[in-house]
Amino acid sequence: MNTFVLKLIAQRIALGLLLLLAVSVLIFVGTQLLPGDVAQSILGQSATPEAVANLRRELGLDQPAWLRYFDWLGGILQGDLGTALSNRQDIGSSLWGRVGNTLFLAFWTAIVAVPLAILLGLVAVRYQNRWPDRAISGTTLTAISLPEFFIGYLLIYLFAVKFNWFPSVSTVHSGMSLGERLHAIALPAATLTLVILAHMLRMTRAAILNVMQSPYIETAELKGLGTFRIIARHAFPNAIAPVVNVVMLNLAFLIVGVVVVEVIFVYPGMGQYLIDHVSKRDVPVVQAVGLIFAAVYIGLNMLADIIAIVTNPRLRHPK
């Protein structure tokens, strides 16, 4: 690896961090603008005015906003996410468990979905415009067009209620073995796979087809290589950059956008955690989760950029 590529990568990382800092300001300002009263929201309809007044005093909402921002940022840099307003629990300890669950589901979904999407994409190119291509495109497009809650309920109806193969409630907890966990998340992982498959698959197909027009593919064909070998060995490496971008976007979706699936399958991930705290106006939690979501998005996109740089021979070997 040469210094040029290293410099490019360093630039990307620096830009990413700068962006994250800017996002942290936006998150902080945004949460300050939320309507409603924190104390009232925490205590709900059955709050007595005394209790509301006491809580408000205790939360110390009288300090100026900029001071609270630097307190908050300083805490985060030292790994302290603060304390939840609503139940006084340390955010870090309750949040990391949720993050772990979300990553677990995202990881196993990705393990299934990404290779499957790329493989199906390669097959679709190999049999372009013939029935396998049409069948693959048709089914995956149908799956992506259906709302995810519908796919979820459909899978629950078939595999949980009718055949009783998998549980409809995917609650995972610390006492479970890996096998039990995988069994528990089978249905949400399948739902998510169906949701993200089409996007990655079609991108793979389009990117490879684009490369397939190049003269060097024609040379490979004239050399007498088999079609699948040409696609896999010669065309795909040059189509990696756009495919990686789409894969990363979908991975980010798996982490930050699966609230609906979490609710349907009662999966204790970050989405539900965030929603509960938004409705209670638990600002420190909302800020912490927002920052984690932003970090995931920025991090994965940065990774996609770096992979694109590293896999691009023109950047690796500049003239």
Binding site: G36, Q45, T48, N87, Y153, S168, V169
Partner: protein, 532 residues
């Protein structure tokens, strides 16, 4: 009803009498078998089968969030309520029939002025940490909830108390500021779980005296408790080896979890799907008419609602039967514009039902002289179907020539910005243990949540008198007068009382309806059992 028959019915309902014994003894009282049989629902006898011990009883419930805590002072939702009733105990309970049942207190006595109350505690009751429960723990608990800084949900109850003292190792004496005949009922509040040293050391430790002890507490996900072997009353509570609440906030997911046997009980079956769920094999629907109510409060001190003719016009312009049919799908009963129904002790049952009467509504509307549109604010969070209910109200108003404008508010901030702030909106109440508690919470002039801005000295006087009255007949009369005042001159439009609709698998035994609240008033997990 013959008093002995009432006792028999209660015994049978509690599972202390078999059906045959019940009918035999009822016959001895001179009661014909068909009538005696009709006194009991089939559910009552389902529970007379001998409870079986063992198994893991699981409930899938709505109403839990990741913000929940084990500190009883902070409880607001159904999951916390049900879990709390499994591991904690209050001094008293209130039976489904509205009678006082001793729990940690063995007996209750008061002086004639209903100001000094003496609670004799049960001896030999153990906390889950092995300590014995004594008067000191009870006093500390009540003190903690009385603290103005406690943010306790029971603070309103505790404010009427002047002093709490341990007069003996097993005796607590409570003096109230004003005579209060309801005090022992109020201390059944689910926030007032007796904790070692009142929970002052660690309010969220989850240590109580209940039939189950907390094993795992994951707020908003699941909560597990196992049977406490040292429990003092194992014949009545705590049949399953372990209980578990899984928080399932999505209604469809709850039903599919029940259908696939992952849970044995669920709460909040939506009225619109009840008929379908009822047809599923192995599932039993239990609906309980309780005290919960859907309401439209008007501020009596704000124009145009400061005119009683306008308030009456709106009260006559609402079609209650239609709302029960459409919003609750029949799972509920009509209200009569005062916040009390037959689930309360001393319910005045001779007050005429207010009917939908467009002509009369129009008469009062014209008399009020008001003619610009009346704004009704509503939101999905006010109660399930609140937006539809407001539109039905709008249509029935139109029939009476009243122009109503329905304004839909965002769910966010509805309870802080709209309810109890705007002069006319949709809301709900879950009811209170006694009539006095309901009226003192929302209808007397000094009430914290006087959401109808009902400021009436004559009403306050009646409430104070009723509160201190130990003669039940006189008390019932006073409550009737109070109900009439709220109904005819207050700002409450109460179209319907909603049922609790819950479902169990058919192998769950011991279910009995309890109008005090959802899931058998929170006792479902400690009173139900699994048939093998």
């Amino acid at each position: 009803m013959h008093p002995s028959l009432k006792t028999l019915t209660q015994q049978a309902t509690l599972g202390q009498l078999s059906r045959r014994d019940f009918l035999r003894r009822a016959a001895a009282l001179g009661i014909a078998a068909p009538f005696a049989g009709s006194l009991l629902t089939s559910q009552a006898f389902a529970s007379t089968a001998t409870p079986q011990r063992g198994g893991i009883l699981k409930a899938g419930m709505q109403g839990g969030e990741s913000t929940d805590s084990l500190d009883p002072a902070s409880w607001t939702s159904q999951v916390q309520h049900s879990f709390g009733q499994s591991w904690g105990e209050a001094l008293t309970n209130v039976s489904p029939e509205g009678e006082l049942v001793p729990r940690l207190a063995e007996s209750v006595d008061s002086t004639a002025d209903a100001k000094t109350w003496i609670f004799k505690l049960r001896r030999g009751v153990q906390f889950h940490n092995g300590q014995e429960m004594t008067a000191a723990d009870v006093v500390a608990t009540l003190e903690r909830h009385s603290d103005e800084d406690s943010q306790s949900g029971a603070l309103g109850i505790m404010r009427g108390i002047e002093s709490i003292q341990a007069t003996d190792t097993y005796e607590v004496t409570i003096v109230t500021l004003e005579p209060n005949a309801d005090l022992p009922f109020l201390l059944s509040d689910y926030h007032l779980m007796i904790q070692p040293n009142g929970g002052k050391d660690n309010p969220a430790a989850g240590i109580g005296t209940g039939p189950y002890k907390v094993v795992e507490f994951q707020p908003g996900v699941r909560q597990i408790a196992e049977r406490f072997e040292g429990y003092w009353n194992p014949d009545e509570y705590g049949f399953a080896d372990q209980i578990e609440i899984i928080v399932i906030n999505d209604p469809t997911a709850r039903i599919s979890a029940l259908q696939s046997g992952q849970v044995h009980l669920i709460n909040r079956v939506e009225p619109r799907v009840v008929d379908m769920v009822q047809r599923l094999p192995n599932i039993v629907i239990n609906n309980t008419s309780g005290r919960a109510q859907y309401v439209f409060p008007m501020h009596c001190d704000t124009a145009p609602f400061d005119n009683n003719d306008l308030r009456l016009a709106l009260k006559y312009a609402i079609n209650r039967e239609d709302m029960v049919e459409r919003i609750l799908r029949g799972y509920g009963s009509v209200g009569n514009d005062f916040p009390i129904n037959k689930a309360y002790p001393l319910f005045p049952d001779d007050i005429p039902q207010r009917e939908f009467d467009p002509e009369r509504a129009n008469y009062h509307y014209k008399k009020s002289g008001h003619n610009s549109p009346i704004v009704l604010r509503t939101s999905d969070v006010a109660f399930p179907g609140a937006v539809d209910a407001a539109q039905l109200f709008q249509q029935s108003c139109a029939q009476a020539g009243i122009n109503m404008e329905v304004r839909r508010e965002p769910g966010d901030g509805y309870w802080s910005e709209v309810w109890n702030k705007q002069p006319f909106c949709a809301s709900y109440w879950s009811g209170r243990p006694t009539q006095d508690q309901m009226y003192s919470t929302a209808y007397i002039s000094s009430a914290d949540w006087n959401d109808t801005r009902f400021f009436r000295d004559d009403f306050d006087t009646l409430a104070r008198e009723a509160r201190g009255e130990l003669d039940q007949a006189r008390r019932a009369e006073l409550y009737r007068d109070m109900a009439m005042l709220v109904r005819d001159e207050g700002g409450l439009i109460l179209p319907m009382f909603n049922d609790y609709i819950e479902a169990t698998l058919s192998n769950v035994g011991g279910w009995s309806a309890n109008p005090m609240g959802e899931m058998m008033a929170g006792f479902a997990l400690s009173k139900c059992w699994l048939a093998s």
